[in-house]
Symmetry: C2
Subunit: 354 residues, 2 copies
DNA sequence: TACCCTGTAGAAAGCGCTTTCTATGCACTG
DNA sequence: CAGTGCATAGAAAGCGCTTTCTACAGGGTA
């Protein structure tokens, strides 16, 4: 039914071994022979049997990218960049297999710890070449331990582990590379910026409490307040999910409870957009009546009116780098902190007199 | 090094065949034996070797979901829904493999024809159980033929092909199921709504010219104009990409060239948001001075201020259904047109007097 | 001329599973 | 008590590749 390597060998009048060698290009084959084999491959329209080759070679070309929410551009950008750097289309149709021919796939955990583990098992089953974990981790001792154990087993079986935008796993030498975002410093700078504009009553719309990203950003915010000697009123901090609706709802509660707020910092741009929507609804001008700031610098931050002051995270670059690392670049054990840069735009301004 | 099925068999003092049967649950095994095997599995922390099992059984549990742009919620929602319905976490940790244990992965083509083909080859190589193609197709005879040929070969090898939000492939009986969006009717209704509000000078910001989705929506728009006997001025139609920046730029051109416009229809919600931004920038009130409408009914359409009048596409439901179909549900050759429903919100209003 | 090295290709042994075919025990039935 | 059938488990033959080991030319070198 389907064409096998043996068929190609017969067609080219060589042994299966030779065909394999031509296809993998890891052994000298005479030019004339190679030529004959390649012709047979294209004439028969042969496609390697992945499972068979993975079994025999004990390696696979599958790379899994785990994301929390596939519908969120934050993850989409990173995943897309990683994918682009893991797989180069130009080589795709060629019969010779190259390093660029990896099947990079994204797995959507939806933020569920159980699904995260499921996908890890599924990838382990496929003997994946690498796994990239993106975004904040869940802060639950049991789950963290389970993930760490799973990753250790994966690494043991030869799977490269790369963390992208995730805090480093303490003492986990099986992690090939870690790119963690400097969320804390970014948040500190952002709130520092607001303080320097004269704001003192600043609301904060945080993400889900159990995520590391949420905690780090909030801590940075608090550190900035403390450094400036500003009051840190717990009532001005509200937790929610990382989406627009949550931002809008939180803004509504914040603005009702504390009408004296002059600024609201959101844990990410999407939340910030929700905050802006609520402010507009209440007739508050941005930034004259209320300054609003986000985090991540997603495309929508630039497009908003007014454009959002935010903290730029080089998501594309980080994703691309994670892809390269997953492909084997860099020395094992590499840990890198990706800087978070303050980007001041129109949504923040000096606090209004009085 | 890694635990194999033979190790489990030895540990449980049974034959490898028995272990395989317990794990696959497709053959009667005495309760006591099964019990012993399962204990061995968990004691040794055994994980099936996917490639080996795929090779032996000539099937795999890989399902590929091809999307045009992973950073676009339009695709993210469909892909997430499909993924959720292809893989149930509750069964994941259990040693017994169930139907729900598929590795559903999304592949980002980035709209590139070459990458689309690449991914198809990669999935063919893995002997994927199913492939879901989402979103509009590219209208290029050569590429369409290449894709159709590829799909035919995949189907021949046992891969189920499902189209989601894609026009049916003419005469392609190898497609397991097709869910196509009724873009034309949706667009017709949307423009009809605007016409009924008295609008006659309506701008249209279309997507990339070479995509089926773009063409169908534009055709629906024109059909509505024709049906109402309204003029169809080609100068009022601008093509661009499906993103916010493109919408904003197009709106700028449209509003400058034709200040008498009373409404702008965008090919999707993201473009519409860009149009709104530009209108706001120019001091035009929505909908008093300008009505704006989108398409898709993404979450951001609801959250916009004012909320966007749009055409609702049941993306989640369609994605979920595509997942089920890819999992084997439904009879082969199933073709279904997913209705597109007009959703009137605040961004459209009666044309202003004078 | 004898020898060895280098370049190239084939033979064959798995990789870790699944599955058919076969074997065994045991409970029935007549 | 022999005969039949069912329930359960093992043996073994692959699935389609990769890769080590081996083989054989032909061309230097001594």
């Amino acid at each position: 039914m389907t064409v096998t390597l043996a068929d190609v060998a017969a067609h080219a009048r060589v042994s299966p071994a030779t065909v394999s060698r031509v296809l993998n290009g890891n052994y000298p084959v005479a030019a004339a022979t190679r030529e004959r084999v390649l012709r047979a491959v294209s004439e028969l329209d042969y496609v390697v049997n992945g499972p068979a080759s993975a079994l025999a070679a004990a390696t696979s070309d599958l790379v899994g990218i785990l994301v929390n929410d596939i519908a969120d551009p934050f993850f989409g950008i990173m995943a897309g960049a990683a994918q682009a750097h893991l797989n180069t289309p130009s080589d795709a149709s060629a019969p010779i297999r190259t390093n660029a021919e990896r099947l990079a796939v994204v797995c959507n955990t939806g933020g569920s710890p159980a699904r995260e583990l499921t996908y890890l098992t599924l990838l382990q089953r496929q003997r994946a070449a690498a796994v990239i974990l993106t975004g904040g981790a869940i802060e639950d001792a049991e789950h963290s331990a389970a993930v760490a154990a799973k990753l250790a087993r994966l690494a043991e079986a030869g799977t490269r582990i790369v963390l992208c935008g995730r805090p480093a796993l303490g003492g986990a030498e099986f992690v090939h590379a870690t790119l963690s975002f400097d969320n804390r410093a970014g948040a500190r700078r952002l709130t520092g910026h607001l303080l320097s504009l004269g704001h003192r009553r600043i609301g904060y719309v945080a993400g889900p409490a159990e995520r590391t990203t949420t905690r780090h950003r909030l801590e940075g915010h608090r550190e900035a307040l403390a450094a400036a000697g500003a009051a840190d009123d717990p009532a001005l901090v509200l937790h929610g999910s990382y989406d627009r609706a949550s931002g809008r709802a939180a803004a509504a509660r914040l603005l009702s409870a504390a009408p004296d707020l002059t600024a609201i910092v959101a844990a990410n741009d999407t939340i910030a957009l929700g905050v802006c929507a609520e402010a507009r609804e209440r007739g508050l001008r941005i930034p004259e009546d209320l300054s609003v700031a986000g985090f991540d610098d997603l495309p929508s931050a630039t497009d908003a009116v007014p454009a959002l002051t935010t903290v730029r995270l080089p998501l594309y670059e980080a994703g691309a780098r994670a892809g390269a690392l997953a492909a084997g670049a860099g020395a094992a054990g590499h840990v890198e902190v990706v800087p978070a840069e303050l980007v001041v735009r129109g949504s923040t301004g000096v606090v209004r007199a009085g």
